[in-house]
Symmetry: C2
DNA sequence: GCAAAAGTGTTATCCGTACACCCATGG
DNA sequence: CCATGGGTGTACGGATAACACTTTTGC
């Protein structure tokens, strides 16, 4: 039996969050788990991950990447299940969380305040975090975490939050602009009690290798 | 149904090789494939990969790393099989290839002269090559390709072969020695018609992150 | 006018890269 | 003595890293 589990990340209020689902059935009743489920026999693992993302969390069209396959023999108390784990990134703007009858709840948790997790899901989250952190440094996948329009400070905050490091503003901007990662728009933010910031969009929203840090 | 396939790499005569097995049963009769097979229900994917490595190629105690899980619905004409692919590295010294009744032959093929491959195995080999090339640059996994004792020129040749690039000898040595990746032995090569070379061993034979190139 | 975030340049240091000759051995 | 690979240092240029003040807005 083969299944898939998806670690969904999002940056909210300068904290990295994961989306979890609260389980109803024992022995995990009340515990939280990654959204996921079986891979049908006429379905690719990628398609199954997308499907569960949509069914269990109402998310479509997100960044999605295969992570690792977890196969400990006893990882599922109901029997042998090998799980192909995925990582997904979503912009903080998408909040339309959908909950289903099957589960007790759906909720975002900050990475540093996770509840008790079912199965080997904390192991999956560790692996996903590791992958996210390293890919931030050599690809443009941050685009998955930001809305279509954003400021350079938003972008820098995403990096700082995930990498748990402070970055010099001037050096960061020079680097990002020099790489042509983003293109400026003719718009600025408005309404905040401070100087308006120029808005940018990503030059491309396809995964690309770029040396960022 | 879930299986595993292993792309086994080795550097021989300054060329990167993959180990392939010739199939007997149709529709792939005569074609070549990666060693692999089913994952038993009481076995982890890692253990299954190790087992097939031993059974089909007589190799034990090699570098082994999970690569990616391939799940195209039609990848196996006998029915739905999802395959957890692995990459393995072996030193050029280990040549004790073992062949079994099940297959028509076992043979090393240079990466640039591969025969017709069964299933989606050429896709797996591409992915493995990509992983190997990138990990050479930021980890110490070359150790999997070299014998316990080797010269700096051996090490450099391994890099040049796999990355398909010429590397400056002085810069390479400075870098490698500066990183403390290898430790010198009190021995030198002998018997060749040129100046003997100092032998080295790896400081550690566990996977470690190090910026090499 | 004050608080809050945006925006902007210069300098020192480190790292990568380019480059050529002498040395030790076997035959 | 010759062919073969082993072994070694230096100088330049580009990238990274450190660092502080002015600007624009809302209240």
């Amino acid at each position: 039996v083969i299944a898939t589990d998806v670690a969904i990340f999002s940056v909210q209020n300068s904290a990295l969050h994961v989306l979890l689902i609260q389980m109803k059935k024992s022995p995990f009743s009340g515990m939280w788990a990654l959204p996921g489920g079986l891979i049908h026999s006429n379905e690719t693992p990628d398609a199954a991950a997308k499907r569960h993302l949509a069914e269990k969390a109402g998310l479509t069209n997100t960044y999605l990447e295969q992570l690792y396959t977890f196969g400990r023999v006893d990882r599922d108390p109901f029997g042998r299940v090998v799980s192909v784990a995925y990582m997904s990134l979503i912009p903080s703007s998408k909040f339309n969380l959908k909950t289903t009858q099957e589960y007790a709840g759906v909720q975002w948790f900050p990475i540093f305040a996770l509840p008790k997790l079912a199965y080997d899901h904390s192991e999956i989250i560790s692996k996903a975090l590791e992958r996210l952190r390293s890919k931030l440094e050599y690809t443009n996948i941050v685009y998955g975490l930001l809305p279509r329009e954003f400021t350079l400070s938003d972008l820098q905050r995403a990096y700082e939050t995930i990498l748990m490091a402070e970055i010099d503003k001037r050096n960061f901007r020079r680097k990002i602009l020099g790489l042509g990662l983003v293109t400026p728009l003719r718009k600025k933010t408005a309404g905040s009690a401070n100087r308006p910031a120029r808005l940018f969009k990503f030059a491309t929203r396809k995964p690309t290798f770029v040396n960022i840090l």
